[in-house]
């Protein structure tokens, strides 16, 4: 059982239809402005300033408000007012579905309870599998890092869903990994389908669909891995004066070859609003 976002959960259980989910996601997005959008609406930042902060967020594991404070573009009182306004206006997907008449209140309540229970079960199951895996310690810390880093980098929620077996990796043809050589060598990579690679690239680079070709999508996946690798080396690997050297991104090794050996590797499915993708971790021989 894998952890799912509520919309996907409701869709799979037949509680709503795909067009209803898409309409709700659009309405939810419109009712939940990003902090930068809200600041621009209120005349606290201009669009160029908000864009600059978003650019920094793509490569820094920091919140929009913290960067804005540091740059002197917002003061603490302005930031708190913006956060409060964002909280007050925020609508959850269930609330939007209810307002749009896609689901009734009783059914929504039952489905929310079932979803919460499934989330807890899925998370516990994932934790158990990761904890008992030979590479579990490394994996759990990188999963935590992904859950924090990717939403800020991509502006979309991301959660670990399940551990995949090597034979389940054939459906993700776009694979990039970086090998880190040194005291505690490891390979770190991401795999996804081409459509998701495009969605990730558009979110990372802030470009329109027509500006993103396949080569750029794969290139952007490589940069995502590079940024993830940089944080993993700094925050996850032992800080014992170890020295590391990262090789250039490798786009040629299929995911199942990289993580084929359970003893030294692990693949974790990450669910995101941009599509599912896979975190690949391996200890080289």
């Amino acid at each position: 059982m894998a952890a799912k976002f509520l919309g996907q959960f409701l869709l799979e259980r037949g509680a709503i239809s795909a067009p209803q989910l898409l309409a709700a996601i659009q309405a939810q997005r419109a009712s939940n402005p990003l902090l930068g959008e809200l600041a621009v609406q209120r005349g606290l930042l201009d669009e160029a300033q908000a864009r600059r902060i978003h650019q920094r967020q793509r490569v820094e594991d920091r919140r929009f408000g913290d960067i804005a404070l540091e740059m002197g573009l917002l003061d603490q009182a302005q930031l708190e007012a913006l956060l409060e306004a964002q909280r007050a206006g925020r609508k959850l997907i269930g609330q939007v579905l209810l307002e749009q008449g896609a689901i009734d209140a009783d059914r929504l309540e039952r489905e929310l309870a079932a979803h919460r229970a499934e989330q807890v079960n899925a998370r516990n199951a994932l934790d158990r599998v990761v904890a008992s895996h030979p590479q579990g310690e490394l994996a759990s810390r990188v999963i935590e890092l992904c859950a924090r880093l990717f939403p800020r980098m991509l502006g979309a929620q991301c959660q670990a869903a399940t551990v995949l077996a090597p034979q389940q990796l054939g459906m993700w043809p776009c694979t990039v990994h970086v090998r880190v050589e040194g005291t505690h060598p490891f390979d770190i990579g991401l795999a996804c389908d081409l459509e998701t690679a495009h969605a990730l690239a558009r979110a990372l680079l802030g470009v329109a669909p027509e500006a993103c070709d396949d080569a750029l999508a794969l290139d952007a996946l490589g940069e995502m891995v590079n940024v993830l690798m940089g944080y993993a080396v700094r925050e996850v690997l032992p800080d014992d004066d170890a020295r590391y050297r990262a090789l250039p991104p490798d786009h040629g090794t299929p995911a199942r070859d990289l993580v084929g050996d359970r003893e030294r590797s692990i693949a974790v499915l990450l669910g995101s609003q941009l599509g599912d993708f896979v975190l690949l971790l391996a200890r080289p021989l």
Partner: protein, 122 residues
């Protein structure tokens, strides 16, 4: 108003160039050109004469080290900052010996980039 320092951005990754260009613009630099390999880097340097070159080490058709040597041969005053992968210490040292002003490590930390580029300009 003081003119913004101009930068030639050289890296074979288009995605990295797009990310770095945004960071450079934010830091007050003007990206006047981009190159995806070492040969292009030299050609664009000769044509654009930027204040700074940000040069990746690992590129096709003439890598960053060779491009650095050729740019400095063409203009010994060129200010070149190397963009390197994590831990490429011996390559960095060689580039500094050849004449690079400084280096930056990927993934690029915007604050470090701003500091290093201003030092290179001084």
């Amino acid at each position: 108003m003081t003119a913004r320092p101009t930068v030639l951005l050289c890296d074979d990754s288009r995605a990295l160039r797009m990310l770095a260009a945004g960071q450079l613009e934010e830091a007050g630099f003007e990206v006047v050109g981009e190159a995806g390999n070492g040969l292009q880097a030299l050609e664009r340097y000769q044509a654009l004469r930027p204040d700074l070159v940000l040069l990746d080490l690992v590129m096709p058709e003439c890598d960053g080290r060779q491009a650095l040597a050729r740019i400095l041969e063409h203009d010994p005053q060129a200010r070149v900052v190397i963009l390197s992968s994590l831990g490429a210490q011996s390559d960095i040292e060689e580039c500094l010996r050849i004449g690079a002003r400084s280096y930056l490590q990927k993934p690029i930390d915007p604050e470090a980039m701003e500091r290093v580029l201003h030092q290179a300009l001084a």
